[in-house]
């Protein structure tokens, strides 16, 4: 292909902070050829976003300084340009898509105004022509009724639609390079897969190069030609997508790949996880930055930092790459045998199947202000959660799964229906009895940052349930219990007097888990408990949750949107759509033989690392409708490829089609036969 479009060489970026300069990325070199897609992957704190912002010179506005290296776009060195020249390039030659589409648009201007502004500025078209072009672009990115969309304000569009509009805006001036910084992270799987499909078709049509930043290896596999793996501000591996995924040359890449729960993995096997967490920038280890977490580290790794070496067109910064390739099989065996084979003994099949929770027609409606309508967040849900099992609950955002969890535990008062806990109706308890009952049902929250009181020490956070429920314990006993819990969840007991902000996301989630386990509950609700964590840490937390379940015979309700993760941890899974359960089955059965078209759509939407570049086209179309105005009949019919007149008229009920496999679809019987 000849000359590269973008050539970044030995780029080092420092940030000015109150306590001096901090090097965020060091010696980054990468090239992008015309119409090539390069993907930077890495965990949070690896410096991938900083790299992309440095290319746009956006870090100037965030106290960042490019202290070394150059960024060549064709023949121009972006680092030497003045602000004014830069503005001529931004938006025209390089365009950017951001992670959070809802905050990337200015809320006081219409979508049209904002697209037209860019076009008029760079292409010198008249306002009218620009408007026309805007409409065409919106049509191109698959937005329905583009003429109306142009006149709408950002808050009138959903997240998926906004991301499409954002892409249209980025494409408006035919950029040579599109930088997409986590473009699908804030979106649901179904919408994510639609956006991936869109980007794939657009990059062919517009012949542009794409620099994709993501933490999700699945997304990278679907879109990238080449992959750059970053760790703690440096590039550790770089190469063609097929090669990286089939034979990683760096232990970090290899670890990341193995941390992802596979669809065919046995459930009782422990998930592979990289120990520890990514170091903070102020405390970067000597030598190879990965060595404290690397199972292959030697003395040399501790002392000397490895350079990027090219082996078979694949670059990797590891002292042991050549050994790894030579002993490739051994390496793999070691990983497989030594690490992943560790299993968590599967619990005895629950023979008597005694329900811990029995939910009967549970509903939670929220009134809409100044209207007679209500939002049916949870609508007549009935299910049972058996003792000792993990019940997974999946669905897109807006399906009501979190509300269901909170209503189940009476953290929100149900509008209707009944919840039996161990045979007793929770609604029959008075305020105080219910509070006492909470000892037995605890919650692990999604947000490890928000769910811990920033003013409390770790010790008092973990002790809170003990102090609330076991009043007779002495101070000493509580302290001992807290320390024991900390050890159990993998925290150092001497951290007891520290505050939450001193910990990383994964450690905070461990604190949250310790708090939930403190009062010896019989039931734990894990509400998106691993969604905010990085892949390698996520695997650690899942393993911890499984171990704790084994040792204390816990029952979990695991709410999540990552189907692979939910499948890995759950015995049975319920699928929710617009406040209703549409399918319940054991997790293997659900994935092998989904009866509801929504379930199969969700499963197809998962970006897989096993099928590189072959993206599923027949994923779910459209978006989840507003729960304030659900479609008549079957709520899913608006997105269902099989919908008929019957679905329009009649609400399907949840029926058992196979043993312990329930579905709410008029045509489930037929699909079963197919």
């Amino acid at each position: 292909m000849g000359k590269p479009l973008l050539n970044v060489s030995e780029l080092t970026v420092d940030f000015k902070t109150k306590r001096g300069l901090l090097t965020a990325i060091s010696n980054i070199s990468l090239t992008i050829k015309p119409s090539e897609t390069v993907c930077i992957v890495g965990e949070s704190g690896s410096g991938k976003s900083v790299t992309s912002k440095a290319i746009m010179r956006l870090i100037d506005d965030e106290n960042g300084v490019i202290s070394k290296g150059s960024i060549q776009l064709e023949d121009q060195d972006l680092n030497l340009l003045t602000k004014r020249d830069l503005n001529r390039i931004r938006g025209k030659k390089i365009a950017m898509i951001f992670q959070e589409p809802s905050s990337a648009f200015d809320p006081v201007f219409t979508i049209g105004d904002q697209i037209v502004e860019t076009i008029v500025k760079h292409l010198k078209l008249s306002k009218k022509e620009a408007w026309q072009r805007g409409i065409e672009l919106l049509k191109k990115v698959g937005l329905s009724e583009p003429v109306i969309r142009m006149k709408q304000y950002p808050n009138e569009l959903s997240g998926g639609m906004l991301q499409r509009a954002m892409i249209a805006m980025a494409l408006s001036c035919n950029p040579d390079l599109l930088i997409a910084d986590e473009p699908t992270t804030a979106l649901d799987v179904t919408i994510q897969s639609q956006i991936i499909e869109l980007l794939n078709s657009l990059k062919k049509e517009f012949h542009m190069a794409v620099l994709l930043i993501t933490h999700d290896l699945g997304v990278a596999a679907q879109l990238a030609d080449r992959i750059v793996v970053m760790y703690a501000g440096t590039i550790v591996e770089e190469g063609k997508v097929e090669k990286i995924f089939s034979q990683p040359h760096h232990p970090y890449t290899s670890g990341l790949l193995q941390s992802i729960p596979k669809l065919d993995a046995k459930k009782e096997t422990k998930l592979f996880s990289i120990e520890g967490t990514i170091p903070s920038l102020s405390n970067i280890p000597s030598g190879c930055r990965f060595h404290p977490r690397c199972p292959f580290a030697t003395e040399k790794c501790r002392l000397e930092s490895p350079p990027l070496k090219n082996i078979d067109g694949q670059q990797s910064a590891c002292w042991h790459t050549s050994e790894l390739i030579n002993h490739e099989n051994k390496f793999h065996d070691e990983l497989q045998l030594g690490r992943t084979q560790e299993t968590i003994p599967i619990q005895q099949e629950v023979t008597e199947q005694e329900p811990l929770f029995e939910v009967r027609e549970l509903s939670k409606y929220y009134p809409i202000k100044h209207s007679h309508k209500t939002i049916k967040a949870v609508d007549h849900v009935s299910l049972k959660i058996y003792k000792g099992e993990t019940f997974g609950l999946v669905g897109e955002s807006g399906s009501g799964k979190s509300t269901f969890g909170r209503t189940l535990l009476q953290l929100e008062k149900p509008t209707d229906g009944e919840v039996l806990f161990d045979g007793q109706s929770l609604a029959a308890f008075n305020h105080r009895e219910l509070r006492q009952k909470r000892r037995e049902m605890q919650v692990i929250f999604q947000d490890p940052y928000g769910s811990l009181d920033p003013k409390w020490t770790i010790g008092s956070i973990i002790a809170e349930p003990l102090k609330t429920h076991l009043k007779k314990q002495s101070r000493k006993e509580i302290l001992a219990a807290v320390k024991e819990l900390m050890v159990k969840v993998g925290l150092e007991p001497e951290w007891i007097d520290r505050h939450p902000h001193e910990f990383s996301g994964g450690q905070r989630q461990r604190i949250g888990i310790a708090r939930a386990m403190a009062a010896n509950p019989s039931f734990v609700l894990a509400d998106e408990a691993v969604s905010a964590l990085d892949v390698s840490v996520q695997a650690q937390i899942i393993n911890l949750l499984k171990e704790l379940q084994q040792s204390s015979g816990l029952t979990y309700l695991f709410i999540g949107h990552n189907l692979n993760v939910v499948r890995h941890i759950s015995d049975r899974i319920g699928v929710m759509y617009l406040g209703k359960i549409v399918e319940i089955a054991s997790s293997e059965e659900l994935f092998e033989n989904p009866l509801h078209p929504y379930t199969s759509g969700l499963i197809k939407s998962i970006p897989s690392i096993e099928t590189i570049g072959t993206h599923q086209i027949d994923t779910l179309k459209g978006e989840i409708p507003s729960p304030s105005d659900p479609p008549s009949g079957c709520a899913f019919r608006t997105r269902c490829p099989f919908a008929t007149e019957l679905c329009h008229k009649e609400v399907p009920t949840l029926k058992e089609y196979q043993t312990a496999h329930f579905a709410a679809c008029h045509y489930a019987e037929k699909r079963k036969v197919d």
Binding site: R19, S280, L281, N283, V443, S451, E464
Partner: protein, 297 residues
């Protein structure tokens, strides 16, 4: 990037890199400010307790031959139109000003924030009623309200404090109510509820410690306002009648002589400014001290 910085902040054992940090942010420099502020407060405090030990003259002595003298070594802050020594006046005036300011701020911040927090936490009907009352009080200009109260109840120290307090309460109530409303919905409150912690413990141990920091800032600012309001009332003849004027009265009287003797109004004004500044700096450090994220030791 925010992540990077916050991660950086989060880390305790940071080593200082290459460049020297900005001087204003360096802990040493802000420490000097803090100590200066504490000295100022100690000095002003002793002024109000033992003014006689500090001043060379009694404030009420009028020296007819020394009218409107510019500042000199004999009269540090000059003399006023009666020939009184301005330095002595400022030192003696501190007692009345500080007392009114501190009392008014203490009472109004305690009452106001308590009311705001309680209605914010309980919410519902009580909240609606209370906030409407607060809004009604706020529509009346505070000086007018204080004036009306002082006029109705007659000029006395207690009435002065009550008048200033009532006009300041709505501000505190509103801010604290807002704080409570935002903290009430933070995930860790839900987490605590899910554990089964009783409401009053959640209020006392989670919500309160997380909500008072704006109160410290507001109260330190309120000190200045309270002193000035009392000055305004004294100026209108509704303050406490004493033979020694307070800072506010000095300021407003001196205003008329601004062209003849700038020092008469300037020094009491500076005293107010210095006091408020010192209290502010101490307030800020206090707030930081109670915030575990900012505590660096």
């Amino acid at each position: 990037m925010r992540q990077v910085i916050s991660e950086y902040k989060n880390h305790k054992d940071v080593t200082i890199l290459k460049k020297k940090p900005m001087i204003l942010h360096s802990p040493k420099f802000s420490n000097i400010f803090l100590w200066l502020s504490i000295l100022v407060i100690i000095f002003l405090g002793s002024c109000s307790i033992i003014p006689g030990w500090i001043t060379p003259y009694t404030p009420t002595t009028m020296q007819a031959d020394q009218i409107l003298q510019a500042p000199s070594f004999k009269h540090l802050f000059g003399t006023d139109y009666f020939g009184r020594d301005v330095f002595s006046l400022v030192v003696y005036g501190s007692r009345a000003s500080l007392l009114v300011g501190i009392c008014a701020v203490l009472v109004s911040s305690l009452v106001g924030s308590a009311l705001g927090m309680i209605v914010g936490y309980i919410g519902g009907f009580m909240d609606v009623i209370f906030m409407r009352i607060v809004e009604i009080i706020q529509t009346i200009p505070s000086i007018l309200l204080a004036l009306a109260l002082a006029a109705a109840m007659g000029p006395s120290f207690v009435n002065l404090v009550i008048a200033i307090t009532i006009s300041a309460i709505p501000g505190y109530a509103r801010v604290m109510r807002g704080q409570i409303l935002s903290i009430k919905n933070r995930p860790f409150i839900l987490a605590s509820r899910s554990i089964g912690t009783p409401s009053y413990i959640i209020f006392l141990k989670h919500i309160l410690p997380n909500s008072y920091s704006p109160l410290i800032v507001m109260a330190t600012n309120g000190l200045g306002t309270a002193i000035l309001t009392s000055a305004g009332l004294s100026f209108l003849g509704l303050g406490v009648i004493r033979d020694i004027p307070d800072w506010g009265l000095l300021l407003s009287q001196g205003r008329n002589y601004l062209t003849a003797g700038w020092w008469i109004a300037t020094f009491p004004g500076l005293a107010i400014a210095l006091f408020v500044l010192a209290v502010n700096i101490i307030g800020d450090s206090l707030r930081d001290y109670f915030d575990p994220k900012k505590r660096i030791e």
